[in-house]
């Protein structure tokens, strides 16, 4: 079992640890629901150092990423990040990825922990030319500071003006004397940051952040809350809501597929172009269980007693106080309001297709420059 540099600190703090994608990770500290609510109402700090980091550098970097990722990397400017995926010939994602442009010829890719080796091997097989491709996952620790008070908490520790850092932008700066990369990204549906820091310093930095944010309601939050938060925000989890058999368009990720002529060809482009034009045969939809019971990953989904698919992610949603989930259904059954049933331990429980995201933060317009973030 692999461990992040914070493993000992998690264990010392009494966190409940579970195996996740080959890693020994904290699932909860004080309790899943209280951590979930802290992120919705104040802030939570997550150790996501298990995520993988690849550096792609050199004169061929842009061309290489244009043919190995689905989105249009040429649209990025220095200090900007982009949600994307490694597309396969069938239009499905090998993995989803965030591409960070540090300079015109220097990029950082952040990938899922359980897919690090697979992704890296695949990238090597795509024949990088004039590119240095390196798996630097052990050289980065990564924390996610998420919630409506995240900016206020972080701003108190840095001279860098966070109000100028827009969503999906990042900066290399100092936070309380630590050299870090701060990115305005996350996996919770809230405003917040993902912060790259040296593995040698991450334990001290983790404690510093928790101390600084304590009176503003910051708590450590585990993978349990991370999963319920991302599902309320309808963010897909690779390996559950999408995998090597589900096309990006089916998963609702057509918006990260660029058909821009200048981008050129990439695996699955023809399939994805056809599905964007004519619609995919099936769609990933959000549903709410209207009867009693919690839908879980793998439970069958029925329409008029006919099995149409299965739950890819399902949970009790702590903020919404509803039972929600995602599943693939034939495109004809995907309309909001469609009545479904979930087979919960051989009991057919009614459910209904609902609009997503299930949860949208109230100040979705924020962060906007200068006005919304108060420095203290």
């Amino acid at each position: 079992m692999r461990k992040t540099p914070l493993n000992a600190a998690h264990r010392a703090s009494g966190a409940k640890m579970v195996p996740f994608g080959g890693w020994d990770m904290p699932v909860e500290y004080s309790g899943l629901i209280s951590e979930h609510m802290a992120v919705r109402k104040a802030a939570g700090l997550f150790d996501v150092s298990h995520m993988g980091e690849f550096e792609v550098e050199g004169p061929g970097a842009l061309a290489f990423l244009q043919r190995t990722t689905a989105n249009n990397v040429a649209k990025l400017v220095d200090g900007q990040a982009q949600y994307s995926a490694f597309p396969l010939a069938n239009g499905a994602p090998l993995d989803d990825v965030i591409v960070y442009r540090r300079a015109a010829d220097r990029y950082l890719l952040v990938v899922n922990a359980g897919n690090i080796e697979k992704d890296f091997r695949w990238l090597q097989e795509q024949g990088p030319q004039d590119v240095r491709l390196e798996n630097k996952s052990d050289a980065y620790a990564l924390l996610a500071l998420q919630g409506p008070r995240a900016a206020e908490i972080l701003q108190a520790l840095t001279a860098f003006d966070l109000s100028g850092l827009k969503y999906y932008h990042f900066a290399e700066t100092e936070v309380d004397s630590y050299s870090v990369t701060v990115s305005r990204t996350g996996y919770t549906g809230e405003d917040g940051f993902e912060i790259f820091v040296s593995p040698q310093l991450v334990e001290a930095f983790w404690k510093r952040l928790l101390d600084a944010g304590k009176e503003k309601g910051l708590v450590p939050a585990g993978l349990g809350a991370r999963d319920t938060l991302r599902l309320e925000a309808r963010m897909c989890l690779h390996g559950q809501d999408m995998d090597e058999t589900t096309s990006l368009v089916e998963a609702g990720l057509g918006w990260i597929v660029s058909l821009d002529e200048a981008k050129g060809d990439f695996p699955g482009r023809a399939v994805l172009a056809e599905q964007k034009k004519n619609g995919p045969p099936r769609k990933l939809v959000g549903f709410e269980v209207t009867g009693r019971g919690i839908a879980r990953h793998g439970y069958p989904v029925l329409v008029h007693d006919e099995r149409v698919g299965e739950v890819t992610s399902g949970t009790y949603a702590p903020f919404l106080q509803k039972n929600i989930g995602l599943c693939y259904v034939p495109a004809a059954r995907a309309a909001v309001g469609t009545e479904l049933a979930v087979d919960i331990r051989e009991r057919k429980v009614p459910a209904r297709v609902v609009p997503t995201p299930f949860y949208k933060r109230p100040d979705k317009a924020a962060p906007t420059p200068a006005t919304t973030v108060t420095t203290s």
């Binding site: 909860e28 309790g31 899943l32 019971g293 919690i294 879980r296 949970t315 009790y316 702590p318």
Partner: protein
């Protein structure tokens, strides 16, 4: 600590006997292992249970667990207040969050289960 007025199973259920009736629930250790409980499913009165038979389900946000009856007998009452407010299981597993009352087929059979001290030792050995 686990109350001394009842008996315990290796599946982390408890039963407290009064006359020919037993009240059944799950232990403090069990609720801690589960985490925040958000769903409880219990049987209707009249259901006949064998010892160790599944009588319901408890779910936390992350996990589903089956409930095993520590005793044989007939269910006379299920705690509907717990079904309405599953979070009571985290707050008061030995009190308000009892699950079912059972007319015991054999009140003596309960003596074969662990007492509080033996259960305590069992939990400590399991935690290692």
């Amino acid at each position: 600590m686990d109350p001394a007025d009842r008996r315990y199973t290796k599946d982390h259920e408890w039963v407290r006997v009064e006359g020919d009736h037993g009240t059944v629930g799950i232990t403090d250790y069990a609720q801690k292992q589960l985490g925040d409980v958000v769903y409880v499913e219990l049987p209707e009165a009249g259901r006949k249970l064998k010892e160790h038979e599944t009588f319901g389900t408890v779910e936390s946000v992350k996990a589903v667990s089956e409930l095993f009856s520590p005793v044989a007998g007939e269910v006379t009452e299920a705690n509907t207040a717990l079904v309405q407010s599953p979070e009571a299981l985290n707050a008061d597993p030995y009190g308000k969050a009892w699950m079912i009352k059972v007319r015991l087929a054999d009140a003596k059979a309960v003596d074969a289960l662990m007492d509080a001290a033996a259960y305590q030792k069992y939990v400590e050995s399991e935690a290692k």
